[in-house]
């Protein structure tokens, strides 16, 4: 088992996990709508499938947020 941090909170992973699988595990229903940072580096969508998480990795999901005023 490995321990990673997702948006500042510890998460335990039972098996080898890719970014794609982590997105599913975190119930992100619209993966196109988040940006993913791994250890403070942005990850391209095409790499989600191939990157396997390691112990101590820090993942941040960043969400689109609108708000304010239509102009």
């Amino acid at each position: 088992m490995i321990k990673i941090t997702v948006n500042g909170k510890t998460q335990d992973l039972e098996n080898a996990t890719t970014i794609t699988q982590l997105i599913a595990l975190n119930n992100i229903t619209q993966p196109d709508m988040v940006s993913v940072q791994l250890n403070e580096e942005f990850i391209s969508q095409e790499d989600y499938e191939s990157i396997e998480l390691k112990n101590g990795d820090e993942v941040d999901f960043l969400y689109f947020m609108g708000g304010g005023q239509p102009v």
Binding site: N7, G8, Q30, D32, M33, S35, Q37, E40, E41, F42, S44, D60, L62, Y63, F64, M65, G66, G67, G68, Q69, P70, V71
Partner: protein, 269 residues
């Protein structure tokens, strides 16, 4: 610049601050700040920057005040319903601080006018509610080398970052706008009114920090908060070499008008 006695009294709490002082207040008084959108975020930004004595405040917005705006857009009052927002905002700014020169643009912010307008300003504040204009502000500021504050709010959440040339831009974080209607706007999903004040005052504080050089800006960081838990979180970011606008090999060299969400187009018509 020589302050009058009244101005020294008005700005005394800034002048008392070691990081601002007379010198910092002079910088504020000589500064020109553009606020894009006179809505939920633009309202507190405009009021605090006016109170602070920012010499010139530009406001661009093509909309009129609607009754549903008053729950959070605190620069507009009940009597202003149906009045152009830029006029309503200018009136309040003038009442709050006659020192401020207000320039209004009662129009949409588009790829046609963006660069020409921002060219006149030292700092730009994004107070818009839609992604096409958020990306437009980002690209225009990156291309023109202008610093800006990004802000977004939704439901109980807010997020903001500050851009200076060379730091991570909005597109480093978010490559391109979401498809229209994929992400709800406040007009679709709702927003707690006070969130606009929380986020807008952070943007106003960042603007004043930039102008005076005080403290550390929210550059290479994304600050987000959730008002239900009142948890604030800062994620460190980095400029992306692959960023399509500020990266090493930019593919975006001209401004783009992305399609608005369908509901917004309907509203405009």
């Amino acid at each position: 610049m020589n302050f009058t006695e009244d101005q020294i009294a008005r700005y005394s709490r800034h002048i008392l601050l070691r990081d601002v002082g007379v010198e910092g207040q002079e910088k504020i008084s000589n500064a020109k700040v553009l606020i894009v959108g006179a809505g939920g975020l633009g309202a507190p930004v405009a009021l605090y920057l006016a109170a602070a004595g920012v010499g010139t405040i530009g406001i661009i917005d093509g909309d009129v005040v609607d009754l549903s705006n008053l729950q959070r857009q605190i620069i507009h009052f009940t009597a202003d319903v149906n009045k152009p927002k830029v006029i309503s905002a200018k009136e309040k700014i003038n009442q709050l601080n006659p020192d401020v020169n207000v320039i209004v643009y009662q129009t949409l912010f588009t790829s046609e006018n963006a660069l020409e307008i921002i060219n006149d300003y030292d700092f730009i504040v994004d107070g818009t509610d839609n992604f096409p204009v958020k990306f437009l502000i980002n690209d225009a500021c990156v291309i023109a080398g202008k610093p800006f504050s990004h802000g977004g709010i939704l439901r109980f959440d807010g997020q903001t970052l500050t851009y200076l040339p060379g730091t991570a831009c909005y597109r480093c974080l978010f490559h391109s706008p979401p498809p229209p209607n994929a992400v709800p706007t406040c007009s679709q999903a709702g927003v707690l009114g006070a969130i606009a004040g929380m986020l807008g005052t952070i943007q106003a504080a960042e603007t004043l920090k930039y102008l005076t050089g005080a403290g550390e800006l929210l550059t290479n960081k994304l600050l987000s908060f959730n008002a239900k838990t009142m948890e604030f979180r800062t994620v460190k970011t980095k400029r992306s070499e692959k960023c399509p606008v500020c990266g090493s090999h930019p593919t975006i060299t001209q401004l783009i008008d992305y399609e608005q969400a369908v509901c917004e187009i309907k509203k405009k018509n």
